[in-house]
Symmetry: C2
Subunit: 381 residues, 2 copies
């Protein structure tokens, strides 16, 4: 195996596939990156048990300055190989695997030799056919993930909640996540699935998080499904992920359609106030911030017995309904508000003990974009 | 105590004095920042046992938008106060100490109340008169510190080596540091001291490190000395530091004036090669890189038995003298070379067992700018 390539192109692709590689993997070969040179170009692969990322660098694209002298494949230690490639002196790098798997990486006068691993030891990626496949505008898909990734559970105790649940069909794609303290939902149109029955899958949050960092925003993303795998294609990058097994609960019944109190406020202004309040609540025993909605004003407050307290009257657009005192985790509210950027949002409350929901002010009825947060019961409320 | 001020001006000064404050200080009042409002303006103070930083914000400067309604002083928890001030909603902040030391910080609708500490509990800064005082161009002083700070010892076992040793007088200032593995020396002219006897002091490296981060590069820095304290004035910032006690060893005798082998090379090119070599040496049992100087070429190499090795022929400007194989800690060489930026440097060697020195190629004889590194004896060398 022997090739030369424009180093900046190689680095860009290497960094993408390295997103899948964990240096703490218990399977030694997966701490490496696989490099294979074949008839059509170069393929880089990184993987852990959950996600695999493949980048293809075509021979046909002159910008890559790719010249393959001998085909073949090798696995190299990912972290060192990455550091080395990034520090090489010039923008052309030469790569050659010697008979005993010793791999030479050269650029100008610098010559590295790395101990490689036989590529036959590297697991094969799943074969995925075209049967169930959808094309989605990448910008819309990123929005959908960014809106729902915040409520994915970090606890492995109920694995199904570590993923985002997708329902695809009837002309739309619905994404839901919940960690049992909060819930996020986003529904986007997907015209290609108009005549198709609904399919449901749950995809690990970690896979989707890596995916949206590397997708090409200029191109549509293609999503292909099998019973236990999903493949996303974005330009020359392929992201494979296993699906989470198990039944995702019916979350529609959790979303309240009634309310007794409603606030309209600019999401970014509320975010800034919450960020001020949590400076002190983070130091308290409980990380709790209070909202007091009264006819004449709406006050946000946080405190720490040792340090002090903060109080702020919110600039609201509109408030309707009953007076209400409610307490909640400010980190949850901050994350939820940020998904709305600087939009005006409507926040609908029922009581100090019931979950409240945040909706975009210009689309509050269709529940296409919802954040739900369960309040915290505090003494005296 | 009551004032209002332009928040961005206040933050800039607060960040400077916070450099002296350690949240882990064993003296509780020193985890706070002292704020005092007086006839001439506002003074902020931060301190630990070694270094104190004072920032003065004059009433007279209209840009500060400072209005003092009541004079007074208070100590507030540094970290929280800093976070709060940075997150306030507008560029005007109002500050008021209530009778029970409760301190109100207001900006637009946000109102924080922090528990303050009586300013009488805050230690007094030393009084320093004008007796021994020198003015130094700040750019030159920064260069001098940056050149020598790298060899300051991080070990508290011999406290005198945790400082930079200054000898001032006879028209020059000489700075020396050593951690016993390496040594840095820089001499700069200081015309104001031409008719003055030599004074010697050792200033903690940590104090100088903070100092060069906050000095105003537009103005000269004034250095004032007492028996156990130094004060640096840079614009409206005052940095006080205690001096290190004890005799600094005579380092002149450590600098070799003979050599058997000499290399001339661009410092930045050598730095880049060393950075490549240390990717692998950092993984080896000993962090060692080898330099092999032969008549026809100069090779730098590093290795890790597990990962692989690297070899690079250096682009040298000139090599004279005997062939030589020498090994050293690449982190020391990298730090030393970086003090020369992209200058050509001369590196003078005596033997694989003797320290070698790095000098600027255009000023190699006067020893005004020296880095010395002790090599590492490796088996087979």
């Amino acid at each position: 195996m022997k090739f030369s390539i424009k180093r900046s192109v190689f680095i860009q692709n290497l960094v993408d596939v390295q997103r899948a590689i964990s240096s703490r993997s218990t399977i030694p070969v997966l701490t490496g990156v696989k490099i294979s040179a074949h008839e059509e170009g170069l393929t880089l692969t990184g993987s852990d048990a959950t996600i695999s990322i493949e980048a293809f660098i075509p021979l046909a694209d002159d910008n890559n300055q790719l010249k393959i002298e001998n085909q073949g494949a090798i696995v190299l230690p990912s972290r060192f190989f990455g550091e080395i490639v990034k520090k090489l002196p010039s923008d052309t790098m030469y790569f050659e695997v010697k008979p005993n798997l010793q791999t030479e990486i050269r650029s100008e006068n610098a010559e590295f030799t790395l101990n490689g691993t036989n590529a036959d030891e590297y697991p094969r990626l799943p074969e995925i056919n075209n049967e169930k496949s959808f094309s989605i505008p990448s910008e819309l898909f990123s929005q959908l993930i960014n809106h729902t990734i915040i409520s994915v559970s970090q606890q492995e105790t109920r694995p199904i909640f570590t993923g985002i649940h997708f329902t695809i069909g009837n002309g739309k794609m619905k994404a839901v996540s919940t960690d049992s303290h909060r819930l996020s939902q986003r529904i986007v149109p997907l015209s290609a699935t108009e005549n198709q029955d609904e399919i449901s899958v749950t995809i690990p949050g970690r896979s989707l998080n890596e995916l949206i960092r590397i997708i090409d925003s200029q191109q549509d993303i293609e999503m292909m499904l099998t019973d236990n795998q999903v493949l996303f294609k974005s330009g020359n990058i392929y992201v494979y992920s296993r699906l989470l097994e198990g039944q995702y609960p019916d979350t529609d019944r959790l979303l309240p359609h009634q309310h007794t109190t409603s606030l309209t406020i600019a999401a970014n202004e509320f975010t800034a106030a919450v960020e001020r309040a949590l400076i002190l609540s983070h130091e308290g025993k409980n990380n709790v911030v209070k909202l007091a909605i009264e006819p004449e004003r709406v006050m946000l407050s946080g405190q720490s017995a040792e340090i002090g307290n903060v109080e702020e009257e919110l600039n609201i657009v509109k408030a309707t309904g009953d007076a209400l005192n409610i307490s909640f985790n400010p980190d949850y509210l901050k994350a939820a508000l940020r998904t709305f950027a600087s939009q005006d949002v409507v926040i609908n409350f029922q009581s100090p003990g019931h979950p409240f929901i945040i909706l975009p002010a210009d689309h509050e009825d269709d529940f296409k974009m919802v954040q739900l947060i369960t309040p915290i019961r505090t003494p005296g409320v």
